[in-house]
């Protein structure tokens, strides 16, 4: 899938408000409602989107980490939970019930979906987007987060410089016995911490002299909220409200204990399923739309032949 990609993930290019709202809705519904159909929709679309975003890495991760975790969750529930009226068998005097097995599978799919969606979240919601969103609500904490994220690579680079300087005066970490090595390693860390703290004061004073904390200062951001974002936000809110309404009206209900009962799939409920499917597959639909646009543009470029650069400014 990755190899044939024509463009960057379209959903990642939306405004961070759209990204965050999307993940909040999908994760919220996945965690709060253990409804089999909703979980199935969430799991499958989370899986497809994570593979779309992360390629082969996602497939490997899903097989090596996600699958065992889900199997464990599915097995743990019937082993400890003996509620339910349909007793299938007895294991060491403890009843194994159909209901607890069903619940175990639902819980496993829930956990799997949450982890899949978080792997998508990690790819889409980069730290700059988070800071853009929360910079105004929690300015001081956001500033600490952004500085700490910057400091980590900076300290790594500084460690290299300190190590080289220490080697210059004969304190090489790669020579001598273990105790000598540990000692010179620790002294490098000690130098780093002192440097970091001194440097921090300098940074802070520089910030202060440039007016940090004064009134009327604005923050730079590289994101715009355009027409597409507006449409996406309105659509998501509408569909989300539709799902919440069906849950509040007890049309989307499920009961695992004492007996497994699920709502009748009438027209009303099917609409709610469709709404959830649309929400969950929103990023994929955006990507498919972008794919089509790119293909037609390419065709146009090819068909326009040697008409020089006309195709480029479409």
């Amino acid at each position: 899938m990755r190899a044939t990609k024509l463009h960057a993930d379209a959903f990642s290019g939306c405004n961070p408000i759209v990204n965050f709202m999307y993940f909040a809705f999908v994760l919220g519904i996945t965690i709060f409602f253990l409804h089999p159909v909703l979980l199935g929709i969430s799991f499958v679309s989370g899986m497809v989107y994570s593979i779309y975003l992360n390629g082969g890495k996602a497939v490997k991760f899903n097989l090596a980490f996600l699958l065992p975790l889900m199997v464990a969750a599915a097995v743990i529930n019937p082993a400890f939970n003996h509620q339910g009226v349909t007793i299938l068998t007895y294991v060491r005097m403890n009843p194994i019930t159909l209901e607890s097995i069903l619940y175990g599978i639902a819980a496993a799919v829930m956990i799997g979906s949450v982890i899949l969606w978080f792997s998508c979240y990690n790819a889409v919601m980069t730290s700059d987007k988070f800071l853009y969103l929360f910079g105004r609500i929690i300015p001081a904490l956001s500033l600490i987060i952004s500085m700490a994220l910057r400091f980590v690579p900076r300290y790594k680079a500084q460690i290299k410089r300190i190590t080289n300087a220490q080697r210059g005066i004969g304190r090489d970490v790669s020579s001598g016995n273990v105790i000598v090595r540990i000692r010179s390693g620790l002294s490098i860390l000690s130098i780093l911490v002192t440097w970091a703290l001194e440097n921090a004061i300098e940074t802070a004073d520089s910030m202060k002299s440039r007016g940090y904390g004064l009134k009327g200062r604005t923050a730079y951001s590289n994101f715009r909220f355009d027409f597409r974002d507006r449409i996406l936000v309105v659509a998501m809110l509408l569909f989300f409200a539709g799902i919440i309404a069906s849950i509040a009206l007890h049309r989307l209900s499920v009961l695992y204990f004492p007996a497994f009962v699920i709502n009748v799939p009438d027209g009303f409920v099917l609409v709610a399923y469709a709404e959830y499917l649309i929400i969950c597959t929103l990023p994929l639909m955006l990507d498919i739309r972008e794919d089509l646009i790119w293909r037609t543009l390419r065709l146009k470029i090819v068909s326009s032949g040697n008409k020089s650069s006309n195709g480029a400014d479409v």
Binding site: F80, F118, S127, A148, F151, V152
Partner: protein, 245 residues
């Protein structure tokens, strides 16, 4: 002057915390029982953890901290994050709790919580955010807060050995217990004694390694780190800086 200010922020936090404990948390549980048939332990526990973290964040923001204080906190968060990434191949060996405790003791309970919670959050930009993030944030944060509180009340001494013992216990009891509880909430539908006990038992070896490594890190780090922080505070008058705001 400083004591009166800490009293005010303390009172504010108490009010916010009281609203959370008396109103938001029972409301969450009630909604859970009414609409989720009392079986969704995980989302409810997640909300409670978020509500428990909010008062600290709100008080910190409303205090409008000075640039110097912010940058020092950011440095400690970055050191803890870098420390966690440095030991990423060794499971459960992480210096985070050690640094959070040092932060709590030298900068105060409030900053201890912020350093802990933000370390949990920022390091997961590297390790991956997940449903465990709020739990880690709260566990690291509350350890830093407790260290600072016990130190300021004179119960915990700032010497290396008591700090190391406190760190080992905190890693084993507070962090271990909270994250094992998160696992129970996520994996099982009912709270049976057997499922809780078996999860805690499975967690014991991991928590033991975490506790032991925290003791080791504190034995090595606590004295030099505290000295450096005290020095910087004295040299640049960080304590006074906070007063004139």
């Amino acid at each position: 002057m400083q004591t009166s200010e800490t009293k005010v922020t303390g009172q504010k936090r108490t009010i916010v915390a009281a609203v959370m404990i008396l109103f938001c948390i029972p409301l969450t549980i009630a909604i859970g029982i009414l609409f989720l048939n009392d079986r969704s332990y995980y989302p409810i526990s997640l909300m409670i953890i978020l509500f428990a973290t909010l008062p600290f964040a709100m008080v910190f923001e409303s205090r409008k901290p000075q640039a110097r204080e912010l940058v020092i906190i950011a440095v400690l968060v970055a050191i803890a994050v870098a420390g966690r990434t440095a030991f990423f191949m060794v499971p459960q060996v992480k210096p985070v709790i050690a640094i959070v405790i040092i932060a709590g003791v030298s900068l105060g309970a409030e900053s201890g919580f912020i350093v802990g919670a933000l370390t949990g959050f920022v390091s997961n930009f590297i390790f991956g955010q997940g449903p465990w993030t709020p739990w880690q944030m709260f566990a690291f944060g509350i350890i830093g807060f407790l260290a600072g509180l016990l130190f300021s009340k004179g119960i915990l001494s700032g010497k290396t050995l008591p700090l190391s013992i406190f760190g080992g216990l905190a890693a084993f009891m507070i962090y271990g217990l909270l994250l094992d509880t998160a696992a129970v909430m996520m994996f099982t539908s009912t709270w049976t004694k057997a499922s809780i006990l078996s999860t805690y038992m499975l967690g014991v070896p991991f928590n033991l390694i975490h506790g032991a490594s925290t003791i080791l890190f504190l034995l090595i780090l606590s004295r030099p780190m505290t000295e450096k922080l005290t020095r910087i505070k004295k040299k640049y008058g960080l304590v006074e800086e906070r007063n004139d705001s």
